[in-house]
């Protein structure tokens, strides 16, 4: 494995759900890569497939869903078709996930100590004393005061923000190469959110951990990520460096999303709104999925747009990208 290879490279990933009513293409031809110490923001509204993308990487997609195509290269190894045994050695060890609701990660009837030591012991041959020491250090690292005492506490004895820190501490335990964070701050207050973002950023810088930060909130990504992928109806519609995409979005959906953020607009004046709502993924009509809400849509959009590169460092899935010269 070359040292320049990205930590994770996803190519043409397809995860489909085979339901009685039809095939739901939750993730359709998604490609991106994350380097060491890089934070990738994966942005989209509910139902856009961002969480399923995260689950696919970890091999956590349950029936009737299945990864039906594409490559997931982790440190050069294709794990899209890896067996369960291999995934178990990676999951929680080299790749960790943080969920929106920390109670999804934490077992309510076990002490934090028990859960954290279990994570260490499952992957490393160390004695219990060392495992406890690691757990203690991880809690301290995410800014939990008096970690020695807090180790013996149960999850319900922590506040929401502290619980999320515990979940992050568990993700850190085995010093993973990649962390997938699925809306980890959505349920938290701004001051607590800032504390969590601070820890995430520090981690990335100091340990070189690659991170995928899944969120619906462009503003969170703006301060945190290095690059961003915008998802719509299971596909990436725009990808690029964070400043570039936020300052000069070219896809009509990205433009609409940015335009509808309240703080960008003059007070009291109606916000720009994207008409209609996100389409149901079941039996999505052919062509561009955004067609029916798009101000630029025309006959060409009846065909499905491929990912094109209008200029260096940007990918967009649109026949009518908004380019400065042509505006």
């Amino acid at each position: 494995m070359g040292s320049n290879a990205p930590t994770l490279r996803v190519e043409d990933l397809k995860t489909h759900f085979f339901t009685k009513a039809g095939v739901v293409k939750a993730v359709d031809n998604v490609s991106f890569s994350v380097d060491r110490a890089q934070i990738l923001g994966l942005v989209g509204e509910s139902g856009s497939g961002k969480t399923v993308t995260g689950f696919s990487i970890l091999g956590l997609v349950d029936a009737p869903g299945r990864v039906v195509g594409g490559r997931i290269e982790f440190n050069g190894e294709d794990i899209a078709n890896a067996d369960e045994g291999r995934m178990q050695t990676l999951r929680g060890n080299r790749i960790a996930m943080i969920f929106q609701d920390p109670m999804m990660t934490l077992n309510p009837v076990l002490r934090v100590e028990t859960q954290m030591m279990e994570t260490v012991l499952a992957h490393q041959k160390v004695d219990r004393k060392t495992a406890r020491q690691r757990a203690r250090d991880a809690l301290g690292q995410v800014g939990i005061p008096s970690p020695d005492e807090r180790l013996a506490a149960y999850p319900h004895q922590f506040s929401g923000g502290m619980r999320q820190r515990v979940a992050i501490a568990i993700a850190l335990l085995n010093d993973p190469d990649l962390i997938i964070a699925d809306e980890p701050t959505t349920a938290l207050d701004v001051t607590i959110q800032a504390q969590i973002l601070f820890e995430a950023q520090k981690l990335c810088r100091e340990r070189g951990t690659a991170m995928i930060w899944i969120t619906h909130d462009l503003a969170v990504i703006a301060g945190l990520a290095d690059k961003v992928c915008v998802m719509y109806a299971g596909r990436i519609v725009e990808a690029g460096a964070i400043d570039e995409v936020l300052d000069h979005p070219v896809h009509p959906y990205t433009r609409g999303l940015i335009g509808s953020v309240p703080s960008r607009n003059r007070r009291g004046v109606p916000l720009y709104q994207i008409p209609g709502m996100t389409p149901a993924l079941l039996n999505l009509p052919p062509g561009c999925a955004f067609r029916e809400r798009c101000p630029q849509a025309d006959g060409a959009c009846m065909a499905e747009p491929g990912l094109s590169v209008p200029f260096d460092g940007r990918a967009v899935r649109c026949f009518h990208p908004h380019l400065e010269a042509g505006a």
Partner: protein
């Protein structure tokens, strides 16, 4: 005004709160009482949800109320909407002391103040058709006769951007944004003047949130509504409000016209909040969070509630409660630091 002006209620204020407090007490059961008699440390637990809140909302104004979870903003909203009774303090509606009104008048006031809730999935009865959810209250209160009923429901739904032909459907057949519109239609159906929106857009996607915010702005213009807009999202509050109240652990710490507050916050807590709001404009930011969390309202700290997290706290802040004082025309802040400057 139908009643002589009450002391402390200036003209023009639609809603006025004076020294409003709310405490939730968890009383001991028999076993607990016995145990406490026998010398156990079990005591009644009191949650200090609101502590001496003063607030004025002028007619036609949109007032934002911002705070972190557990600061008491929803409790305040519920008291204003008449769902909860305050423990202490007075509430005036159009200059009339609400607690002393005759039953008929009290009912009229209750109808004039309506509430829209956060969760459009939990706040609609899943077993009622949209037509009944929206139309039940005006029918019961005699605002419409049964002849006018269908037309009235169609009209209210249309105003909220819903297709009247869907009115025989149940709530589960609608998306989140549409359900929130149903909740808004239900509130509007009794022709209120004052609407309390408790995190009304928090559960919605960005593109849907923009649609609902636009609906709020449109309805305000068309119907001359007054809003108390409760939210933890400063971006949303900045966009829609004329004036903002910042709340911390049951107390108002600062209030100012929206532009002034966002341009130059005064209270250390407001400053911290504004600094930490993620914005599209701030890239690759170095997050420098304020330490700690909101303390438990079971045992609020002495003195200024914010002092354990405040970088400027002095000995005085630990002992003496700062009062909300005017620091500039239209601006009030509760911080001892303002005395020294």
């Amino acid at each position: 005004m139908s009643l002589p002006a009450t002391q402390g209620a200036p003209n023009g204020a639609l809603m006025e709160l004076h020294g409003l407090s709310k405490r939730f007490v968890k009383t001991l059961d028999l076993a607990g009482k016995l145990a406490s008699k026998l010398g156990s440390s079990i005591r009644e637990e009191t949650v200090y949800a609101l502590d001496g809140v003063n607030m004025t909302v002028a007619k036609g104004e949109v007032v934002g109320l911002v705070g972190e979870s557990g600061c008491g903003k929803s409790t305040l909203g519920r008291i204003v909407a008449g769902i909860l009774e305050p423990t202490e303090g007075q509430m005036y509606y159009e200059g009339r002391h609400v607690a002393t009104l005759e039953p008929a008048e009290a009912k009229a006031v209750a109808l004039k103040v309506q509430m829209i809730f956060q969760d459009p999935f939990a706040s609609l009865n899943p077993r009622m058709r949209v037509r009944d959810i929206v139309g039940e209250a005006p029918l019961v209160h005699g605002l419409v006769s049964s002849d006018e009923f269908e037309g009235y429901v169609d009209d209210v739904l249309g105003r909220c951007g819903l297709d009247a032909s869907y009115k025989r459907r149940y709530p589960h057949q609608f998306s989140g944004g549409q359900r929130q519109r149903i909740g808004i239609a239900r509130a509007l159906a009794v022709r209120p003047d004052f609407i309390v929106c408790d995190e009304a857009v928090a559960a919605l996607d960005v593109s849907i949130q923009a649609q609902i915010l636009n609906l709020f702005i449109k309805l305000r213009e068309e119907l001359g509504l007054t809003y108390l807009f409760i939210s933890h999202d400063l971006g949303v509050v900045e966009h829609i409000s004329d004036r903002v109240y910042i709340m911390y652990l049951g107390r108002i710490v600062e209030t100012a016209p929206t532009e002034d507050l966002f341009a130059a916050p005064n209270h250390p807590y407001t400053k911290a909040l504004l600094r930490e709001v993620p914005r599209l404009e701030t890239r690759h930011s170095k997050f420098l969070p304020i330490e700690g969390e909101i303390p438990s309202p079971l045992e609020p700290p002495r003195g200024c509630h914010f002092h354990p997290r405040c970088p400027h706290a002095t000995a005085r802040c630990r002992e003496e409660v700062p009062v909300l004082r005017e620091i500039a025309p239209g601006r009030e802040s509760a911080c001892h630091l303002n005395d020294e400057a």
